[in-house]
Amino acid sequence: MLDWLMNRKQLLDLYYLDARAKLIDLAAFLDRLDRAEGEADFRLVAFHQALAEVQQSASARAERVLTALSDPTTEPIPMVTTKAACGAWPGKN
């Protein structure tokens, strides 16, 4: 470990309030979805799966969240039907 890296207390001082605000935003987002009517889609399912990765105690949470939201297949798709990405894999290509 490099000696100039910040310790846990210093990192909490620097980022805690920001992370707290993001956590509350996240909770409010899920509450907002609960209050709304209609069906959700695959994005919410993927979101909850990714959220479970945050609560794992091991490190590399960011990597695991990104992987949980990624297309797990390995072969190129036959053809492009849209240019845009939506942030979660629909479950098929």
């Binding site: 910040m6 210093q10 960011a62 990624s70 942030g87 979660a88």
Partner: protein
Amino acid sequence: MRYIEPHAHMVSRVTDDYQAMMLAGCAAVCEPAFWAGFDRSSAAGFHDYFCQLTEHEPRRAARFGLPHFCWLCINPKESEDVGLAREVIALIPKFLERGNVLGIGEIGLNKNSRNEMAVLEMHVDLAARYNQLILVHTPHLEDKHKGTRLILDVLRADSRIQPERCLIDHVEEHTVKLVLDRGFWGGMTLYPETKCTAARAVDMIEQFSGERLWMNSACDWGVSVPLAIPHAALELRRRGHNAAAIDRLIYQNPIRFLNQCPKFKLPDESR
């Protein structure tokens, strides 16, 4: 502070951005060929775009004292039409001689389709035949991990390609190790929502030493921040990195990679 902006789509920016970048210490800007936000209808449209990147935009940047370099290709977002891509790629060699062209980029994949793969292979072959540096765009969001693996497979399958002459851009936590472990350079793009925040970029620098990493704003016609690198430098400072380490990351690292192209010269070096 001094820095290189290694990835910015300045044709989409206003002159205030040039002024702000200069005031913040930008020493050079590099502009990969990109999607215009709409599909160009012919190869002639790309010809005009390549003229813009090699003639007009360097002059516009020079009005603010900023050296401007570029990369040429047909962007992955327009690579589904292989016939058009073939026509556009045939235009590129005559532009490679121009003074501000650094190489082939930003090539890569967008939705990881078979046609995108075919056009990527055509670009890689072009770069190999003309001994050009390569700048690679990796896909967005859910397509990034798969696309990065496919791109690395294509590059590694071509024995003419030297990993240290390729930069794989838009890496995030789930792709950065794949890229660096295979000897390539990695670029971290500072888009708060869809790519990487400054804090996360610093995390990756601290975990992977930052020896073959650079940061860029990739500012374009969408929501993006032309001063993202100076903001990231501030984040590095807040995290305890000293001035020399910051200079290595945001100035010396891009120069180390870009100097592999003999045309990349900053004014002080060419005097």
